[in-house]
């Protein structure tokens, strides 16, 4: 549907703000380098204050980068005002114009482009069909539910056929169930419209569910860029591993490396790993082990003592001590598994492919 889907390139972009309390300058975004291909769905993910919204607002033009340049479809856009940029944003608060009805809200951008009335009517009707709001043209915005308002906001952004669609935490004002429905809707509509989308969220499951690529940010710095699979199974550091899903961090040293595989020593026990990254023998290392990748067994890799065992319905939740380290284990569908009780001696078991070495 988009006239031309555009890529976005962010080169060495920084944004500096002043802390209102101390008066100190700080980097809200520091030396960000991001390349987004046309038609891709990319999430900017991170805790609040990590700079993700600032990046989005710089792409839209509401903030000006203090360093670096932003390109939209190959064109440098630093000097363009928001109204001259080929972007359209879906706001967290929906930001619908309260004095217009749904039709006029969606038609707003088209009217500014001096399109003739018949074409406007056709386009608005089509787009309202696409977002599932057919027949609602004459409603006022406050007569809609949150989810419907979000659809209007999406329709309004889509209808002007922008080169890139920007989402600023669009679902955070919706309840949990609706959030899941809407994110699937957004993904479907983005695919149908074939449009580049950049989506800011602090909800990792949302990011996992809809993105082609996830950009994880931490304190103004890009921590990792990768597919959902990559950021989950090959996190670049402890921050990413901890932010996406749950992780156990086992600290130890690399004792030997052979043909890409190696042995790490954790709490005095040898643990075989399938890759060691850039590490050499003798280096300190951290093993990232997902709670659902490990299981509790009578035989296994690391001996442990069970310190917590709790039935949660669809899984059994364990915490065990391996020497001085706490390890969380999630045992799904525990009905037919052996249940360990607090105080039991057991082993943490996992295969070399299930650990990621940092």
């Amino acid at each position: 549907m988009a006239k031309e889907k555009k890529g976005v390139r962010i080169e060495h972009v920084s944004k500096i703000y002043q802390d209102p309390k101390t008066g100190q300058d700080f980097y809200a975004v520091h030396d960000a380098n991001i390349d987004i291909a046309p038609g891709e769905f990319v999430c900017l993910l991170g805790p609040s204050g990590c700079g993700k919204t600032t990046i989005l607002r710089m792409i839209a033009g509401f903030e000006s980068p203090d360093e670096g340049e932003i390109y939209l479809g190959g064109e440098a856009i630093n000097e363009l005002t928001p109204n001259k940029r080929d972007t359209a944003m879906v706001f967290q608060s929906y930001a619908l114009l309260p004095h217009y009805n749904i039709f006029d809200n969606v038609a707003y951008g088209l009217k500014l482009r001096k399109m003739d009335e018949a074409a406007i009517k056709r386009k608005v009707t089509d787009i309202l069909d696409l977002v599932g709001l057919e027949g609602m043209e004459n409603r006022m915005t406050n007569q809609l539910s949150g989810g419907q308002q979000q659809r209007v906001a999406l329709a309004r952004a889509l209808v002007i056929e922008p080169g890139v669609l920007l989402f600023d935490e669009p679902l955070s004002n919706l309840d949990a169930k609706l959030r899941v429905d809407m994110r699937n809707e957004i993904r479907r509509i983005q695919q149908e419209a074939g449009i580049t989308a950049i989506y800011v969220t602090h909800d990792q499951s949302e990011a996992m569910a809809i993105s082609d690529q996830i950009i994880i940010m931490k304190k103004g710095v890009v921590a990792q860029i990768g597919t959902p699979h990559e950021v989950y199974y090959q996190p670049s550091d402890e921050f990413v591993a901890d932010f996406i899903g749950e992780s156990n961090f086992l600290k130890g040293t690399v004792s030997s490396i052979e043909g890409g595989k190696g042995i790490a020593v954790i709490e005095g026990h040898d643990v075989p790993v399938s890759s060691t990254g850039h590490l050499a023998a003798g280096d300190a290392c951290t093993l990232v082990l997902r709670p659902e990748s490990a299981k509790l067994a009578d035989k296994g890799v690391l001996p442990c003592t069970v310190s917590l065992s709790r039935f949660m319905g669809n899984y059994q939740n364990y915490q065990v001590m391996v020497g001085g380290s706490l390890v969380k284990i999630t045992d799904f569908n525990p009905k037919n598994h052996k249940i360990y009780e607090v105080g039991d001696e057991a082993y943490v078991d996992f295969s070399p492919e299930d650990v990621h070495v940092l």
């Binding site: 920084s14 500096i16 109204n83 002007i160």
Partner: protein, 569 residues
């Protein structure tokens, strides 16, 4: 760190918007020419003599005993009015917020009292004071039989100003009391404090900055008040009346400029204390909304005396206002109370009343939309935009609030009678209706801007951003989004500007020429001549006009206001 690129990009984006740049330039020029420049010229005027910079002008006016007396009078009246207004305002606010009022009657009385000073010309109370207590007053002569009652003087000014200004304190303090969390007071009660102890140890300390704020606002109003001291001061002069007399009686414009500088310095100091110290504190101690409804005091021993006291004051004030229309329809005040229309006939047939009303009305009618639009544009820029001159625009438009009308009037005379800096530039506007309209605009701008700013702060920033993002430029955003959303505020700004303009006197009385007749100036003149019935007739018509304007606004907002439009299907 290199914030330079961001700043220069912001600047470039701003410059890419020609309408915006033009608007800012026009605003800056307007504010400089008509607010900053008249004040600067006063300062220049009062320290530059024939042989360079000198303090001789100040020395010579300070040498006059009458002027020193005027300063003292002004401060005494200001302080007394400030204290009394704050106390009565607090009483009203407390009763409204803390006491269980059994009938709607009392709260309606309060409402009327708070609206009356807004819609009536400034000197109405002075007029009725004379009618009630003057030489042929109903109370002084008819009831008490006093033959030579002398109502003129400082005491009357203080009483009149208190009655005029306490509703402002009442409204300010009511807002603050509403925000005190009742659980604070309940906690104190729970620990064994008496009701009086709660008031002195919890409520009052929380309210203290607010009381200081209300006090200073009133003192500033009192000091700047021209009409009441003029009408009822008799031989007691204040700074504002001295300045007026210095120009109209002594033809000493330079002396008047120096006096204006002194008056201005006093109000400026108060303005800065009020705005930057007290206003912040007053709201900071009372953060957030009250968590739940307050248990109102139903105790008869508290309720009955307080309600009676407030009602008595309120009824007295309302009666004062009613005196003026009554005075306009009876034959001879103090002697013959038969009804007659003859004063109205006189107003229109003998006293060119028709022209006065037309002139005042047309000028106020032109000034008010301009003021409303200007103040909305200023608030829009101040709240929603970032640019270099924003600080100046905000400062200058707020500064006008601290400038007494008389000072502004002298500033316009000195600044434009011989053109800009006496070069003859822009001299042509002097003596025209245009300059009167500009004076009206400048006088009403701060109130409009303040209400515009608070209205705009309520609007989610992203609504306007979304419009930008859709491709609208600043002008389109302002016209299609901002203005429709603050329609109510715009409208009330429009009516406030109209009411303020049509009832204004302090500044325009100095700038007006005989070619233009202003109602307020006429009322002042006839009252000074002793033709009170004519003054009453003029005032009554004026009150009707302003009341009609306010009524029209309320009706319009009810049927076409923002909230209404959003409810429609």
């Amino acid at each position: 760190m290199a914030t330079a690129q961001g700043a220069s990009l912001d600047r470039k984006k701003l410059l890419a918007d020609p309408i915006m740049v033009t608007t800012i330039v026009v605003l800056v020029v307007f504010l400089t020419l008509f607010i900053i420049y008249p004040l600067v010229i006063l300062l220049v005027d009062s320290i530059v003599g024939p042989s360079g910079i000198t303090l001789d002008i100040f020395k010579s006016i300070m040498a006059k005993g009458s002027f020193r007396k005027a300063i003292a009078n002004t401060l005494v009246i200001g302080a007394a009015t400030g204290v009394l207004s704050t106390l009565i305002g607090l009483l009203f606010a407390y009763v409204e917020e803390y006491v269980a009022l059994r009938t709607k009657f009392v709260s309606n009385l309060f409402k009327v009292v708070s609206v009356l000073p807004v819609v009536s010309p400034p000197f109405v109370l002075s007029l009725s004071m004379i009618l009630l207590f003057g030489r042929s007053g109903i109370i002084s002569k008819t009831l008490l039989g006093i033959q030579d009652s002398n109502i003129y003087g400082m005491r009357s000014i203080i009483i009149i100003q208190t009655m005029t200004f306490f509703p402002v304190c009442y409204m300010m303090l009511k807002g603050l009391l509403k925000n005190i969390d009742p659980s604070l007071e309940e906690a104190a009660r729970d620990m064994g404090a008496s009701r009086w102890k709660v008031f002195t140890s919890v409520t009052l300390p929380l309210l203290l900055p607010g009381l200081g704020n209300a006090f200073l606002v009133t003192v500033m109003e009192s000091i700047a008040d021209f009409a009441n001291p003029m009408m009822i001061g008799g031989n007691v002069d204040t700074l504002a009346t001295s300045i007026y007399l210095q120009i109209t009686g002594n033809y000493d414009k330079q002396g008047a400029a120096a006096m204006a500088v002194i008056l201005l310095s006093i109000t400026f100091i108060m303005f800065f204390v009020q705005k930057y110290i007290l206003e912040a504190k007053a709201t900071a101690t009372l953060t957030g909304k009250a968590s739940r409804q307050r248990m109102l005091i139903a105790d008869r021993s508290v309720r009955v005396p307080l309600v009676i006291l407030c009602s008595a004051v309120a009824i007295f004030v309302i009666a004062m206002y009613l005196c003026v229309p009554y005075g306009s329809v009876i034959k001879t005040w103090g002697r013959d109370y038969t009804l007659t229309w003859k004063w109205y006939e006189k107003v229109f047939v003998n006293y060119r009343g028709g022209q006065a009303f037309t002139d005042s009305f047309i000028m106020a009618f032109i000034a008010s939309p301009l003021t409303a639009l200007l103040s909305m544009i200023i608030s829009y820029l101040v709240v929603k935009k970032r640019f270099a001159l924003k600080g100046f625009i905000e400062f200058a438009s707020m500064l006008a609030m601290a400038v007494p009308g008389t000072v502004l009037g002298v500033g316009f005379i000195r600044g434009y009678a011989n053109g800009l800096f006496r070069t003859g530039a822009l001299q042509f506007i002097y003596g025209t209706t245009a300059i009167l309209i500009i004076v009206f605009i400048v006088r009403s701008l701060p109130t409009g801007t303040r209400s515009g700013i608070s209205a705009l702060r309520q609007i989610d920033k992203s609504i306007e951003e979304s419009a930008y993002d859709m491709g609208a430029n600043s002008f389109e955003v302002f016209m299609t989004v901002t203005l429709p959303l603050i329609k109510d505020s715009f409208l009330s700004g429009l009516v406030t500007a109209f009411v303020r303009s049509i009832t204004a006197i302090s500044a325009v009385i100095l700038v007006v020429t005989p070619a233009t007749l202003l109602i307020t100036v006429q009322i002042n003149e006839y009252a000074n001549r002793g033709e009170f019935a004519v003054a009453c007739a003029f005032s009554t018509i004026l009150i009707l006009i302003t009341y009609a304007a306010v009524l029209a606004m309320n009706i319009f907002i009810r049927y076409f206001g923002t909230s209404k439009a959003q409810e429609e299907d």
